[in-house]
């Protein structure tokens, strides 16, 4: 399982980085989304990969890490997901503004091939 998850993180990250290095704003935006998936998964996997151990305290089961998965990474990733949406929206609008000003969608506002 660890191999599958880490490979997934790597592939998402690589796809994202490739896109982030592209010249078109939309590509960069998609790239950032992919990178943020990868990073969220990475952060999430810092906890424990546990199945069926939701961090919802049930009476009778002692509240410790042996019986529940790590709640902290989850709280962190939750805020990261929501903030990620906000920054994606902001970046999208910035690229639209750039498009309006520069009349092209190159990240530097200068259209000079790929």
């Amino acid at each position: 399982m660890e191999i599958v998850l880490s490979a997934a993180i790597g592939i998402l990250g690589a796809s994202g980085i490739w896109l982030v290095l592209r010249a078109r704003t939309f590509q960069v935006l998609m790239g950032l989304s992919l990178v943020s998936y990868a990073v969220n998964l990475f952060l999430f996997s810092m906890g424990s990969l546990s199945i069926g151990q939701e961090p919802i305290v049930t009476p009778g089961i002692p509240a410790d890490l042996a019986h529940y998965t790590d709640p902290m990474v989850q709280a962190l990733v939750l805020t990261a997901i929501v903030i990620g949406f906000a920054t994606t929206a902001l970046f999208l609008v910035v690229l639209l503004a750039l498009r309006g000003l520069a009349d092209n969608d190159h990240v530097d506002g200068k259209d000079e091939g790929a």
Binding site: L12, L34, L65, G84, T88
Partner: protein, 985 residues
């Protein structure tokens, strides 16, 4: 308690003055005058104590770890300077009321003036070295702001910058000097430093300390070779010149020399450096002053010269000279600020400061003339005026000095020469301006100013005369008090009398006066008619070299930036990725890479299949994002869903819920944005160029290496034992202390609610930024027209796809069935949101998810019915949701204060409610309401602002079409005057 008030009053007054309305000229100046007057009264009332005790102080712990206290310390010298600063400040505030134009934003001026006054008082009353440097720099800053007060003028900006660069830079040097001095003395306390003069002078660091401190003092007091900034500072309003650049700030340098005289003076190095710079400045300033064409320029150079005189006196290493220096400081402050104020009146009433155009003004302004003549006579050192007394003391010191023979002969010569020059430039003011041919070609007809504008000058000139006539009576006691700390407690014998008999100093005075008259007679005509802009025989121009240096530094910096910095995004990002990867690789290379032995989780086919789909989609998104944006968006969504399922699988239901709803709004967001992107041309020639291929290969390599690194890193971390964290705490306390079983939600709204508060603030700010950016959005022209898909259906007029957004589309059949369903869904969706919200504390859900669900419900309405239709029926006002949410969250947090707990402490009440029974009602619930509201508002604001662009763009196009059509435009133009005419009637 009165002592710190001396500092507090001006600063507090400054803040109040800044808040006055923009054109409240009388109120602002009256207020500043009263504050300055109150400060003056405070200072005066302290005199008996200072006189009796020598030094009084007020102490407050400041940096106890470093043994530095904040000490306001008033001894005689500090008291005398405080009186000058506060008293002249009061007069200047009064004068500025009449000088400033009604159009000037005066509250700013008086706020700066008062703040400067506070800073200057801080310098002179500083009881330790660090505090002194601090206030020293503050005076530089306010001097900068005051010189640049008329910042629309280029000369003001440049003068302000030059003054700040020189004095501020000098202040930094001074700071180093003071730190070293503190080391040499063993303390930063002024008392200690002054008492250990001998030890300091013996110390190995003494030459360094002396050099650094002198650079600070010389830059501030415009001593050669740093004198050039002062004439440029004359771009300031004249009250500023009178106050800062003649009476107070430029005296800070000589104040420092006096302050540290007991600690640093008395060595050969001091004599050479201070005396040399003083003598050079004295001569240079006087020489330049003679040739100035600008009246304020003349006064500026004369100030430089007089400061040089004071510095020279301090450099002579004799107690009597030091007393003379203190005396001349007081005298110079009175006559020079009155002269500046008179110059301001002349400028104000004639419209020019050009000395070649100013002549014969006495008839038009006799009282101002008389005052200016008396003040210039004091400046030249005419008997019965204060300037004469200190000048005689200076001549005596110069003549009776016991030193190297060369100096012994040169010094009286220099003194007499400078005295001669002083008489010349004083005559240029006193005689040149007020006598001679009647004035012509002046911008305004000259006349006396308003009565009150002269009052400050009258007071100052009266002081000049009073001190000049009866020095011992008027000033004797005060001078003794002020000079005693400078010479280290024991005053030398001196006699403040008008007549010392016929002696060498008197002869030198007479020589200088006669010489001055002769030079003026021979030179005066030339100066009066043509004037010289630069003084002859000066090889170096300080201003020019300063500007050249600044320009050179500027050019070099720009060249460096061009060489090592790129503005292009791609290289920046590439370097970031490469450096991060390299950093991680370096760490691995140093410590080695080992897999841990944490117990593995058994792999399942389902997960492997899941991620083969997820990874393929990610790669597909990367592949398609250039030419097939929509397809890329779909595959990105697939990847997002895989992430979501992964969260479910590994016991993170909250994350999965959030990821799911965020995924929905993100897709809508991207779809709205896609509309405005340009078309991509397939098969561009540049696509196949070798450079492009190379770049792609490089980026691919970078991406693969970085991705592999990420994989390795996460595998290593997944297999190693989990580190100790604070998670058990949250698990353990969630139910008993947070009152909820869902640990994630309890963490978000209770344990880590401060963090969440920050997060929702960011969310709201981001949404507002999006909104603000889109208000100025100008869509590209080709994107404004109807999209191709909609234009295709133009022929089929039966459908409403012609203009779905302008028309009430949903009413005519467009997506009618989905629209009805979506409308039915709205209450259901809201109910689901309420359900998710309420159970959030105990089961997956909460404010974040509920907010996003509500936002999606509304977005759905927009999607099927169109923005116009919805907005005709529903007012959402998302910005208000954000505001209310933030207020609720903050108010909940602040509620804890009422109960005496820290911000955001949660309290759980257990009210009894009919039918439901006793329920737990934590205050975190209200916090979660705030979160819910902010999330809903932000999401809606972002998406709706983006959605509205289509409508706005279409509207703008329609307006442009109307304007272009001639009929419409002429009607519009014709209608306008008619309407105006109708109004008039």
């Amino acid at each position: 308690m009165e002592i710190p008030l001396v500092l507090l009053l001006p600063f507090a007054g400054s803040i109040v003055a800044a808040l006055l309305p923009t054109h409240a000229r009388s109120a602002a100046s009256g207020f500043a005058g009263i504050v300055a007057l109150a400060t003056t009264v405070l200072v005066v009332r302290l005199y008996p104590e200072v006189h009796a005790q020598g030094a009084i102080e007020w102490r407050q712990a400041w940096l106890p770890a470093l043994g530095v206290d904040f000490v306001v310390r008033l001894d005689g010298l500090a008291w005398m300077f405080s009186l000058l600063v506060a008293g002249i400040g009061c007069l200047v505030a009064f004068y500025a009321r009449y000088y400033m134009s009604p159009d000037d934003p005066v509250p700013r001026f008086f706020a700066f003036l008062l703040a400067f006054m506070g800073a200057m008082l801080g310098v002179v009353t500083a009881g330790n070295l660090i505090q002194l440097v601090f206030f020293w720099e503050v005076t530089s800053i306010f001097s900068f702001l005051l010189i640049g007060y008329w910042y629309h003028r280029r000369d003001a900006r440049r003068g302000a910058f030059m003054a700040l660069a020189v004095t501020g830079g000098g202040g930094l040097v001074l700071l180093v000097g003071m730190l070293l001095l503190g080391v040499a003395a063993g303390s930063y306390e002024l008392d200690v430093v002054l008492a250990r003069g001998a030890a300091i002078r013996e110390h190995a660091l003494y030459p360094v300390i002396l050099a650094l401190v002198l650079v600070g003092a010389f830059t501030k007091s415009a001593q050669f070779p740093f004198h050039f900034w002062l004439p440029r500072a004359m771009a300031a309003p004249t009250p500023v010149s009178a106050y800062l650049h003649s009476a107070t700030m430029v005296k800070a340098g000589v104040f420092l020399l006096m302050r540290l005289w007991p600690a640093l003076a008395g060595t050969e190095a001091w004599f050479v450096a201070v005396g040399g710079a003083g003598a050079a400045t004295l001569l240079l300033g006087a020489w330049c002053a003679m040739f100035q064409r600008d009246l304020k320029g003349l006064l500026a150079y004369s100030t430089i010269s007089h400061l040089g005189l004071i510095t020279l006196l301090l450099g002579l290493d004799s107690p009597l000279a030091a007393v003379a220096a203190v005396f001349h400081t007081m005298n110079h402050a009175t006559f020079k600020s009155s002269l500046f104020m008179a110059a301001g009146i002349i400028d104000h009433e004639t419209g020019t400061r050009d000395l070649t155009r100013l002549h014969g003004l006495f008839r038009a302004m006799p009282i101002t003339g008389a005052l200016a003549i008396v003040a210039s006579a004091a400046m030249a050192g005419v008997p019965l005026l204060n300037g004469f007394l200190s000048k005689e003391m200076f001549f005596a010191e110069a003549f009776y000095l016991d030193a190297h023979p060369v100096i012994q002969y040169a010094l009286p010569l220099i003194a007499t020469l400078a005295g001669t020059f002083a008489v010349v430039y004083a005559l240029r003011v006193a005689y040149g301006i007020f006598f001679g041919a009647a004035p012509d070609r002046l911008p305004h007809a000259p006349h006396e100013p308003v009565r009150w504008m002269r009052v400050p000058i009258e007071l100052l000139v009266f002081t000049c005369i009073a001190v000049g006539v009866a020095p011992a009576l008027v000033i004797g006691d005060l001078l003794a008090t002020a000079a005693r700390p400078v010479v280290g407690g024991q005053l030398p014998p001196y006699d403040l009398a008008l007549w010392h008999g016929f002696n060498a100093p008197l002869l030198m005075s007479m020589l200088a006066t006669v010489g001055g008259f002769l030079v003026y007679r021979s030179l005066g005509r030339r100066l009066g008619s043509a004037g010289l802009d630069v003084a002859p025989f000066l090889p170096i121009d300080g201003q020019r070299s300063f500007e050249r240096t600044v320009a050179g530094v500027d050019r070099a910096a720009r060249a460096l930036v061009r060489r090592i910095v790129t503005r292009r995004l791609q290289p920046q990002l590439a370097w970031m990725v490469v450096l991060a990867t390299a950093g991680a690789a370096l760490a691995v290379a140093q410590t080695g890479l080992v897999w841990g032995d944490r117990q593995r989780v058994a792999g399942t086919f389902a997960v492997a299949a899941l991620w083969s789909v997820g990874a393929t989609s990610a790669v597909a998104a990367a592949w398609l994002a250039k030419f097939h944006r929509f397809a890329a968006l779909v595959t990105l969504g697939v990847t997002g869903l895989m992430v979501c399922i992964t969260f479910v699988y590994f016991s993170a239901p909250d994350l999965a819920l959030t990821q799911l709803v965020v995924e929905c709004v993100t897709v809508v967001l991207f779809l709205l944005g896609l509309r405005w992107l340009p078309k991509r041309k397939l098969g561009d020639a540049s696509e196949r160029s070798p450079r492009t291929r190379l770049r792609r290969a490089r980026d691919l390599a970078v991406a693969i290496v970085a991705g592999a690194g990420l994989s390795t890193l996460s595998y290593a971390l997944l297999t190693r034992p989990a580190p100790h964290s604070i998670s058990p705490f949250f698990l353990d306390r969630a139910l008993p202390e947070g009152g909820g079983t869902n640990v994630i939600n309890v963490m978000l709204v209770d344990f880590r609610s401060f963090d969440t508060l920050g997060e929702i603030t960011v969310l709201g700010a981001a949404a507002l930024t999006v909104y603000a950016l889109l208000r100025r959005f100008r869509p590209p022209r080709e994107a404004v027209a109807l999209p191709a898909q909609q234009r295709l259906s133009l022929g089929e007029a039966a459908t409403d796809l012609v203009a779905p957004r302008e028309e009430a589309a949903a009413l005519t059949g467009y997506l009618k069935v989905p629209a009805v369903l979506a409308r039915l869904m709205l209450p259901l969706a809201v109910m689901v949101a309420v359900y998710l919200f309420l159970r959030g504390h105990n089961l997956p859900g909460g404010g974040f998810v509920a907010g996003l669900v509500v936002a999606i419900a509304f977005i759905m309405q927009y999607l099927v019915a169109g923005a116009s239709w919805i907005e005709a029926r529903l007012t959402l006002n998302p910005a208000r949701w954000i505001a209310v949410g933030l207020l609720v969250a903050v108010a909940t947090g602040a509620g804890a204060w009422v109960a005496g707990y820290p911000f955001l402490t949660t309290h759980t009440a257990h009210p009894e409610i009919p039918l439901l029974g006793r329920i737990a009602l934590p205050s975190a619930l209200f916090f979660d309401v705030g979160v819910f509201s902010v999330v809903t508002g932000s999401t809606l604001l972002v998406l709706l602002a983006l959605a509205h662009q289509s409508i706005r763009a279409r509207r703008a196009q329609a307006a442009a079409r109307d304007a272009a059509s001639p009929v419409a435009s002429t009607t519009a133009v014709a209608a306008l005057p008619l309407a105006v005419a109708a109004d008039r009637r």
